[in-house]
């Protein structure tokens, strides 16, 4: 009964892609919330298409890890020209696929707290992981992992699972980078305060907003959303003495791209003032370059540069499995 409808839909889809054939098509793979109606995707697409005379198409997978999974499923036959939205924890495995070409030259990233030297991937935004709380419910937040670990057990936090979410993996590496061999001890003391561990960021943040936890693992820039969109000043990120682990989101050009010149142009565009100004208020992350007009409220630098923590990609890849095993052992006790 519905077959004609589906056929019509398919025909329409082919017709549309046929029309687009006149312009060169650039396929950019990214995670789905980046390309959603509420992410940076639509504005970036409009701005880039205005200057490139091309058709920019987003192809999406759930999150950064799923994006890499999809790319590995496709292998050499991938249609991707650019992959945007992997993070530093995924760089080593992304490079191992042999699918990526060298990145084009790029000037310094004046808003990134650490020097960038990777030959294949360029950063386009970044953030600090942090525990976010509501000032009305928790007047004084802990100022370090030590404080948090020593806090009474009725301070409740919700975190994401490192096996299924990038913030969860970030927290795992954060604790490992700061506490090394003592990481298990910190986790043992944090455990009674952990309400639950969720599959992804949305569940955790949703539970926090429902009042189920006093603090949630998110980003220092999360309050900026509430300030700018909801005009709500009650959310704040707790700044920890030990420093904050970074998530740097990167992009790379595939070796198999048929339009390497256009791909390089897009990568350069992502680093332009225009694109960098779109990022903060749509992706709620810091741009890697400071736009001339500055940043909106909520993007003040709360963490001193020297307190930025990031394990080098090789180190992160080396530590990951052992840190996960240690975490699983403590959390299952």
């Amino acid at each position: 009964m519905k077959t004609p409808l589906i056929a019509a839909g398919l025909a329409l889809a082919f017709a549309l892609s046929g029309q687009a054939e006149e312009k060169p098509v650039l396929k950019v793979y990214t995670y789905s919330s980046f390309a959603s109606d509420w992410g940076p995707g639509p504005q970036i697409e409009k701005a880039f298409e205005k200057e490139c005379g091309c058709d920019l198409q987003w192809v999406t997978a759930g999150d950064g890890a799923a994006l890499l999974g999809r790319l590995r499923l496709e292998g050499e036959k991938t249609e991707a020209d650019v992959v945007l939205g992997l993070d530093t924890n995924l760089i080593v495995r992304a490079r191992e696929t042999g699918l990526f070409a060298r990145a084009p030259e790029a000037a310094a990233f004046d808003n990134l707290p650490i020097p960038w030297t990777d030959p294949d991937f360029l950063p386009f935004d970044w953030g600090y992981f942090a525990f976010v709380h509501d000032r009305n419910r928790l007047a004084k937040a802990p100022g370090s992992f030590r404080d948090l670990a020593a806090a009474p057990d009725d301070l409740r936090i919700v975190i994401e699972d490192p096996r299924s979410s990038t913030p969860g993996l970030g927290l795992l590496l954060w604790v490992k980078a700061v506490y090394g061999d003592k990481a298990a001890e910190i986790w043992r003391r944090l455990k009674p305060k952990i309400v639950t561990v969720t599959k992804g960021w949305s569940e955790a943040y949703g539970m926090f907003l429902e009042g189920e936890a006093d603090m949630v693992l998110s980003y220092t820039t999360s309050p900026a959303y509430h300030i700018n969109v909801e005009k709500d000043d009650s959310k704040a990120a707790a700044i920890f003495d030990e420093g904050h682990y970074m998530q740097i989101e990167v992009m790379g050009i595939t070796r198999t791209s048929n339009r390497p010149e256009l791909a390089r142009r897009f990568v350069r565009f992502m680093l332009s003032d225009e694109a960098q100004a779109i990022i903060p208020v749509t992706n709620w992350m810091y741009p890697v370059r400071m736009p001339p007009e500055g940043l909106p409220r909520g993007f003040e630098q709360l963490v001193p540069r020297e307190k930025a923590i990031l394990l080098p990609p090789e180190e992160a890849a080396r530590l990951r499995d052992a840190a996960l095993a240690e975490w699983l052992a403590v959390m299952s006790e």
């Binding site: 009964m1 789905s32 987003w58 799923a66 096996r163 639950t196 949703g206």
Partner: protein, 520 residues
Amino acid sequence: MKGGANPLVWIGGGAAALVLLLAFGTLAALALRAESASGLGPGDWAAIRFTLLQALISAALSVLLALPVARALARRHFPGKRLLTTLLGAPFILPVIVAVLGIVTIFGRRGLVNAALAALGLPPIEIYGLGGIVLAHVFFNLPLATRLFLQAHLSIPAEHFRLAAALGFSDRAVRRHLERPAIARVLPGAFVTILLLCLTSFAVALTLGGGPRATTIELAIYQAFTFDFDLGRAALLALVELALCAVAASSALAAGTAPEAAPSLVAAPWRPDGRSPAARIVDGGWILLAALFLLLPTGSIALGGLVHLADLPAAIWPALGRSLLVALAAMTLTLSLALGLAGLALALEGRWGRVIEGIGFLPLATSPMVLGAGLFILLFPTFPPRTLALPVTALVNGVMSLPFALRALLPEMRQIEADHGRLADALGLVGLARLRRLHLPLLARPLGFSAGLTAALSMGDLGVIALFATPTEATLPMQVQLLMASYRMGAASAAALVLLLASLALFWIFDRGGRAHARA
């Protein structure tokens, strides 16, 4: 369903082949792409044990609680009963992430229940742990079990009740001689269906289970795929899931009782039992408890959505259109496949009939992650995933809903064959004519129910579309998730309300249509 020239048997064969291809073909595709062979670690075995434990408890409790609720609904008549019965089905069709938040607002630390306990000076309850998982799984599956049992109650012929009244049967005798055989026909199938649904649980189990102790097989598969990209292990774990399914399904089907030979008239019969005030109070209590348990979280979701209705973004409407299209296509597919499979199972009967019935359960035991990835490998790069997003989603949703339709249709069709099979044989009524003249008119009620259920289910996200679709062709459940991923929890709850209403409306329309066409 006798006769070799029966086209239904051919459709059934095709349906069985399609299910087998989706279940095993995708698994094989994944295994063949694996870069290294890997076995199961101790963590995997722990996950398998835990998965089985929580699924058994969840399924047993769902079924046990559904028994008195279904009886109460069958015995009592009150204004708004139809609406209530429909609304009680809502949890089953809610997107998982939304339902979890609904449960938390009622049963969580700051939830309604704890507020009430605090007001009474009682200590708070903590749901996180095995209890939370079971609570959530009962919340999701009690509606399904109740509906399947209610169908069974309604299939007890009115003459039997009149006879029981004439013979002066006690309530207990009615229960023993009339209810028990009817329930026994659907109980094993209902139990296995729910068991399998709980076996593939992931986000619910992790979130309400309180952490890694609540690791299920499906989480291990997800981890193998995205965290380790170990396709071999993902395929192996999926195979374990299928094996568990096979054991569960075959033991339940073996326990199934033979159909009763009795004339089947499908209408709500007058009943002589449950006249005492005590019985009325007990029934009322069960209906009230079930309504509170199921409607409070759903209500809080609806309320949260209503408050944020003004935030509803325009992008919701095209997504709703796409979801409706997918749901109707999937429903058409499901009904054709289910009628075919049921016809084939009846034509074969005996051991092979049971095998076919078992195949009908397979979609429930298929890991959504492996199904999606396997399909992707099979289709890419011959077919561009972009253009296939909606057809693939409709196909997968249609097949995934098959077990529910089969559960509702097969026992009824078996009964019809037992009642009228010989007469139809004598009249030479075979093939499609037999389906049209004999089965379809008598099947109106379960057909309507199956159509409504599968359409509503297909409105929800069954996890596969994420690998294929891009946000520009997102379905409604996908938009709900994207809104949440962009901090817009308020707008997401409004969109979830739209999804809930649309799913309920679809269910209502088809279920009602079925009831209207049922012959009294």
